[in-house]
Amino acid sequence: MSINEQFNQNLYLVDLLKPLNYEPIRAGFGRGLKKAGLINNNVVAACADLTESTQMNLFKEQFPERFFEIGVAEQNLVTLGSGLAALNKIPFVSSYAAFSPGRNWEQIRTTICLNDRPVKIVGSHAGVSVGPDGATHQMLEDIALMRVLPNMKVFAPADSVEAEKITLAMSSDPKPNYIRLAREKTAIITTEKTPFQIGQGYILTKGGDISLMATGTMSAQALLASELLYKEGIDAEVVHLPTIKPLDEQTILKSAMKTRKVITIEEAQVNGGFGSAVAEVLSENYPVRMKRLGIYDRFGESGSPDQLIKFFKLDSQGIKEQVLSFLKSF
């Protein structure tokens, strides 16, 4: 049976058995921001000296008067955003995730979240797949930092196509938002027709043996891992959760009730991150055996993105192995 037959037809995913296309997730953000700017005059953007690498240049070229270069000053970046939002603007403020929200968390907390201003924080180059830049630039703690803040919504798109949709959705959401982007080219698994709604999780492929719940760059890897597992006789259900906060508890619980075994996968610290968020939902509502895949209380290091993803066992092969050893453990 073709792997594609198991897929949720309603989601219009790409054909996984054909060669996949790759594109950095941040490219989709850049397109989405420009679109949002065309739809809504109040959308503005500011960047901390990383305009091209966070892909804000598309917006800047289209709307030079609505783009502000802040320089290497991430505290100013987000706080200025809260001021713009006070005048009915919808500011997207971008940098690398290691610096924003890495350096300016308190300003985000006080002037954006407690002050409840709809600033859109764009953290690019998250995860170990940043590669050669090394640990300083490989942000792994951003999910934990952002999801703990009241009023804040947190997104991690699976691919560039979804990033574009999330960016548009953010531009009409009245709350503070954080979106996590990756540097490296990531497999495109969704299409224009694939739905996205804030707070909605999606069952990418149905299965009864185990639930693989993934976010961001790991959703494509989870999908590929499910194919490898299928060949080993394991019928995995892949749940993609592009909104980390608010989490789609219903979809998580429904899948867990079916499979009674859950693996979470994220390119981030498991402590306090996405896996922790899923664990909170399960332990309070329907405890099942679970394991969180991701980075375990350590920093990344230099290397090629592929090397690092393999080293941390977050490629499809690594995920498959970790799932198999989890299943053998009880």
Partner: protein, 284 residues
């Protein structure tokens, strides 16, 4: 807006000081020195300079006043009550459970506040964002005032904004720096030397006006002059006396972060009630 005479404004400033002492006594915690030192500046802002409407705090043409050093908010609450934003009785709820008058100001709780502050160093950046917003919205008549503390400018965030504001020529902003020379751990020049302050701001491309921040007339003049200077953003370095009006609090950094007890409050109020004459004589 009613124009008040200097004498009337001085009386208002004294009432604001009395209210600050009362509020802090009831609250049992809070900052004394900063708010007392800022009373004259807040009097001038609320009763002479700001284009505002206490009955319609969200009025779309209002000027924006940002208090960056949120711990000085008792002076803002007292000035707002005096201006009619809310009844004076409410001042006694400062820092109490359920009060709209939070220990540090929260915009969402009290109409008329423009920002949520307390963690220091953010006001100038917020002013910058708002000034860009005003420009994009073509709201050219509105002005932004941001009050900062001197200890506060230890924060790097302030200097990030200080660089950006001249870059974008955001001359709708007037910054007011409360130069009272104290912070929690002691005199500013011991904790973290700030001088030469004027040259620092000038080198960041700001126009600097230095005044006696407890002189009502000087404050009015400086704020009016600031509106006429369009080449550069303006910062008014206002030299104030921390604890101004209460002899035993004046210039003593230990009063930065504590309220008076009831005996001290009685003494303070007694002094303040005779202050009207005192200020006058100083100016004569």
């Amino acid at each position: 807006m009613t124009k008040y005479s200097i004498e009337q404004l001085e009386l208002i400033a004294t009432r604001i000081r009395e209210d600050i002492i009362d509020m802090l006594l009831h609250a049992g915690s809070g900052h004394s020195a900063g708010p007392l030192g800022l009373a004259d500046i807040f009097t001038v802002l609320y009763f002479d300079i700001l284009n505002h409407d206490p009955k319609n705090p969200d009025w779309e043409e209002r000027d924006i006043l940002l208090l960056s050093n949120g711990h000085c908010v008792p002076v803002r609450y007292a000035a707002m009550a005096e201006a009619g934003y809310f009844k004076k009785e409410e001042l006694k709820t400062l820092r109490q459970f359920g009060s709209r008058l939070q220990g540090h100001p929260e915009r969402l709780r009290l109409p008329g506040l423009e920002n949520t502050s307390g963690p220091l160093g953010c006001g100038l950046s917020q002013a910058a964002g708002m000034a860009l917003g005003l420009r994009l919205n073509k709201m050219n008549g509105r002005r932004i005032y941001v009050v900062m503390g001197d200890g506060e400018i230890d924060e790097g965030n302030i200097w990030e904004a200080a660089m950006l504001i001249p870059k974008y020529k955001l001359n709708s902003i007037t910054a007011i720096l409360d130069r009272n020379n104290i912070q929690i751990d002691g005199p500013t020049e011991e904790v973290m030397p700030l001088e030469e302050l004027r040259r620092k701001w000038e080198s960041f491309n700001w126009h600097v006006i230095e005044i006696d921040g407890n002189n009502i007339e000087a404050i009015i003049d400086a704020l009016n002059m600031a509106q006429t200077i369009v080449e550069k953003p303006v910062i008014i370095i206002a030299h104030t006396i921390p604890g101004k009006g209460v002899d035993f609090m004046e210039k003593d950094f230990r009063w930065h972060g504590i309220p008076p007890n009831s005996e001290q409050a009685k003494l303070a109020l007694k002094e303040l009630r005779t202050l009207g004459g005192k200020i006058k004589s100083e100016h004569q």
